[in-house]
């Protein structure tokens, strides 16, 4: 099985969402991901990194990317040292409500769950480890 692995660590500052997106796009470019898959991955980076920045209290975040060339699938692992937080424990928002009834929030992780092919969370020592898996084609 052929795979590539890369990682990047950035300060927990919202503008670094661009650094992370550029890093991932560059890492995936050799595998020509579909525009749709790349867009969904970019949205996932935005959602998961902004959660770390806004709520975790962690000063840094590490992103590991692991591409399995045989099945053209990417795994992105987000690691922070903030407060324990399992985003998968939260109930999904009710997406059938009207504009007036809709609450602002809770949509980010829901979007990630819906657009990625797999998502898992674990707490390891003082680390939150959230991994998403996405087929590139």
């Amino acid at each position: 099985m052929e795979r590539i692995q890369k990682e990047i660590t950035v300060d927990s500052k919202i503008e670094n969402v661009e650094t992370l997106t550029a890093f991932v796009e560059e890492s995936l470019a050799p595998y020509s991901p579909s525009i749709k898959a790349q867009t969904q991955i970019n949205v996932a980076i935005d959602e998961l990194f902004s959660n770390v920045v806004n709520y975790s209290g962690s000063s840094k975040m590490t992103l590991l990317i692991d591409v399995d060339k045989d099945v053209l699938t990417a795994s992105l692992t987000f690691i922070d040292e903030g407060v324990a937080y399992d985003p998968l424990a939260k109930a999904d928002p009710d997406v059938t409500l009207s504009a007036e009834e809709r609450k602002i929030g809770g949509l980010g992780i829901f979007l990630v769950k819906k657009t990625m092919d797999g998502i898992e969370y674990r707490r390891e020592g003082d680390k939150n480890i959230l991994k998403v898996v996405k087929k590139l084609v």
Binding site: I14, E15, V17, E18, I35, K36, T39, Q40, N42, V43, D46, E47, F49, S50, V95, T96, L97, S98, A99, E100, R102, I104, G105, L107, G108, F110, L111, K114, T115
Partner: protein
């Protein structure tokens, strides 16, 4: 992201270019909140918008709630990737996509 805003009488048109994400959503919110007095029609043009995250959806929801009270809001030229995000989140039932 680039925001091109035009107000003609009571019609406001906002064309977006780039990414409406966690970093740029506050910029758009700033162009709308407190600036819609007398506006009865708010039209967004997404022709050059490549993606939207939940931070962007939140601003659209806020704008929709404002316009529900004083007129109408539409979004045109939505690309397939953004349309799918609207569908998954139920926003396609809340927003008027033309």
């Amino acid at each position: 992201m680039q925001i091109e805003k035009k107000v003609e009488n009571s019609v406001m048109t906002i064309a977006l270019e780039g990414r409406l994400d966690t970093m740029t959503a506050p910029q758009l919110e700033g162009e709308i909140l407190g600036k819609t007095d007398g506006i009865v029609e708010l039209n967004f043009d997404f022709a050059k918008l490549s993606y939207i995250s939940s931070a962007g959806l939140r601003v659209l929801l806020t704008a929709q709630k404002i316009m529900n009270k004083q007129g109408k809001m539409t979004i045109c030229n939505v690309c397939a990737e953004i349309k799918e995000i609207f569908e998954v989140t139920g926003f396609s039932d809340i927003l008027t996509i033309v």
